[in-house]
Amino acid sequence: MNNKGGSPAPTATNAAATAGASGAPGPAGRPTATPAPAAAPKASLSANIAKFRELGLLAFIVILAIGVQLRNPSFLTWENLNDIATNTAILSILAVGMMLVIITRGIDLSIGATLALAGMSAALTVKEYPGLSPLVAVLLGVGIGIVCGAVLGFLVAKINILPIIATLGMMNVFRGLTYELSGGKWVSAHQMPDSFKAIATGKVLGLNNLIVIAVVIYIVAYYFVNHTRTGRQIYAVGSNPDSAEVSGIKSGRILWLVYTIMGGLAGLAGVLWVAKFASAQGDTASGYELSVIAACVLGGVSIAGGSGKISGIILGSVLLGILNNALPMINVSPFWQNFIQGMIILIAVLINAVVKRGIDRNNLMRRRI
């Protein structure tokens, strides 16, 4: 179909070898030329669609922002944008891990519980040893998260339990452990040393630490998923687990890695959360996994596995962050907030789907027949 007029066709001798019952070894006719030069309309087509997906989301965000700005002029101020970014940082950090998990066709419902467990452990530790360097607390949290994630990874990769079940079960276990650990108590602001709280209030180059940490994680993750072999293998395992097995990818290890990364990020998020709010509770971030999954899904990560982009989840997280920030600011009745939030998520994904269809159609129209 891409044959430009001039390309010579193979001569008819190509097919001279007759087949079937009466067939005899025929003379080998060589084609006189290779047909059709490699053109690339398909590549640009699918690439454009993928790009447009993010553009559509971006446009939606811009329109939303303008709408909110008209209602409340203090929305697009440096301070407020900074607040949005700070409040969205933890969500977006978790979204990175969740994206990797979803790419491998999995899901992690336990991150809220892992976050709470890691946060509570870190808080209890700094409460006991106020002199401790905050870095140690962060490492402790990340470590606990990694352990939680590794356990999940083990269940999913080695015992072959479906991710949704493994994480549902362990979610209960981690949450229960958090309560057991704290004995039902909270760790309050006055029990945390200032150095610990500074993790979330400190600034680098005028930007809140949380934002900086999120940005660094995004850069690392971008490099990891796009430019390393292991990163690509994550996509391969999600895209077709059977082929991955046949082409010698150790899918078990990849799964394990993915859940461990998710756990580690959840652990980190736990420490950041506790430092940011200066309080550790047993029910910290309960149900937060849904927001994280929503961010991924809005960002175009396919639940069926195999696809998902860093740029997408940034936009997904930002959209959710803006909603959380904007709805209270434009004086929406609290009773309407749920509804509006749900509608916006639904409309965003529907518009995305419709736009994609339109583009597909448009491209078909341009095909020559």
Binding site: E79, S188, A189, F277, N331
Partner: protein, 337 residues
């Protein structure tokens, strides 16, 4: 009818070996249960602690329960479990004033004495309610407090728990009533926001308040998570002294912000005492000292004698006035609860 009363022969015999300290009218330990809203809440832990103390002072057995989620559905399930265990009394901190009615009625039909504490269930589903403080007093005191902090004029806002929380809603009603007084002519309530007792949401809501109402002078947050989250935001944004904060909160959570002056003072009752009083009221109901009728009196351990008074259709026992926490006394309380 309900089938809870069919197996009376089991109730007298206690299979577990009773301890030497056994006392009470039947000679065996009686069982007193308390159901809090949800687990992992230090306020609730303290209330249950007080309850347990009272029950153990009487030589009986306390059963402490709390579901993992603060829902009425889960509490109904726990009430069923307690009926099966043939406890003598159930004290409940209701997640919903009405939804527990059928379950609690079934318990009462089974001969179990039922009372509520802190967050009330409706009058039909309890014999008596233990009220930590008069809602009217709480509402009015909070307005008086914030008015004093902002010098009697300016915009104020309320940051509550969920839009459904009964206690908070009653208090907010009283706050609005108090504001009608002419001496608050210059105090303007601009918004009631709901942080759903979630840290992240409470923070967003506080930030939105500050941005939408740049002239905001004071915030009242009648819930621990809300007031602590607001304290954190005001601290981080360096608004100490510019926006005043008061409300109801656990001293431990608020110590930081009261000591720093972000919140000059706030109020709360002693949850241990609430539980303790409920424990003695339950004992009195089971003993038959009281039936829950107005005018009856009983001795509540170290709290002394308490009297049952009217409360709408039902009856209640009042603990006392809320306690004011400020920089002078917070250090002493922050380690208690």
């Amino acid at each position: 009818g309900c089938g809870g009363n069919n197996n009376n022969e089991a109730s007298g015999s206690d299979a577990k070996p009773s301890s030497s300290a056994a006392s009470g009218s039947t000679g065996a330990k009686q069982k007193f249960a308390i159901i809090f809203k949800n687990t992992g809440n230090p306020y609730g832990e303290k209330e249950m602690e007080g309850f347990k103390k009272a029950i153990e002072e009487s030589g009986d057995e306390a059963i402490l329960k709390a579901p993992d989620q603060p829902t009425a559905e889960a509490q109904i399930q726990m009430i069923e479990e307690l009926i099966s265990q043939k406890v003598d009394s159930i004290a409940v901190v209701g997640n919903d004033p009405d939804a527990l009615q059928p379950a609690l009625k079934k318990a009462m039909n089974a001969g179990i004495k039922v009372l509520s504490l802190d967050s009330a269930v409706n009058a039909d589903s309890r014999m008596v309610h233990i009220n930590q403080a008069d809602p009217e007093r709480i509402g009015r005191t909070l307005i008086q407090g914030v008015s004093e902090m902002i010098g009697g004029e300016g915009e104020i806002a309320i940051l509550s728990a969920t839009s459904q929380a009964t206690n908070q809603n009653t208090w907010i009603e009283w706050m609005k009533k108090e504001l009608e007084d002419s001496k608050y002519a210059n105090v303007k309530l601009v918004k009631v926001a709901y942080g759903d007792d979630l840290r992240d949401k409470s923070v967003s809501e506080t930030e939105a308040l500050l941005k939408s109402y740049p002239n905001l002078k004071g915030i009242i947050a009648p819930t621990t998570v809300g007031i602590a989250a607001a304290g954190k935001v005001l601290t981080d944004k360096g608004l100490k002294g510019k926006v005043m904060l008061t409300g109801l909160g656990l001293p431990s959570e608020m110590a930081e912000y009261i000591e720093s002056g972000v919140s000059p003072w706030m109020y709360l009752w002693n949850p241990i005492d609430v539980g303790y009083l409920a424990g003695y009221a339950a004992e009195a109901l089971v003993d038959g000292t009281i039936t829950g009728a107005i005018g009856e009196k009983f001795t509540a351990g170290t709290l002394g004698e308490k009297e049952i008074i009217a409360d709408g259709d039902g009856t209640q026992v009042m603990l006392g006035d809320p306690f004011k926490f400020d920089s002078s006394n917070i250090a002493e309380w922050k380690s208690v609860y």
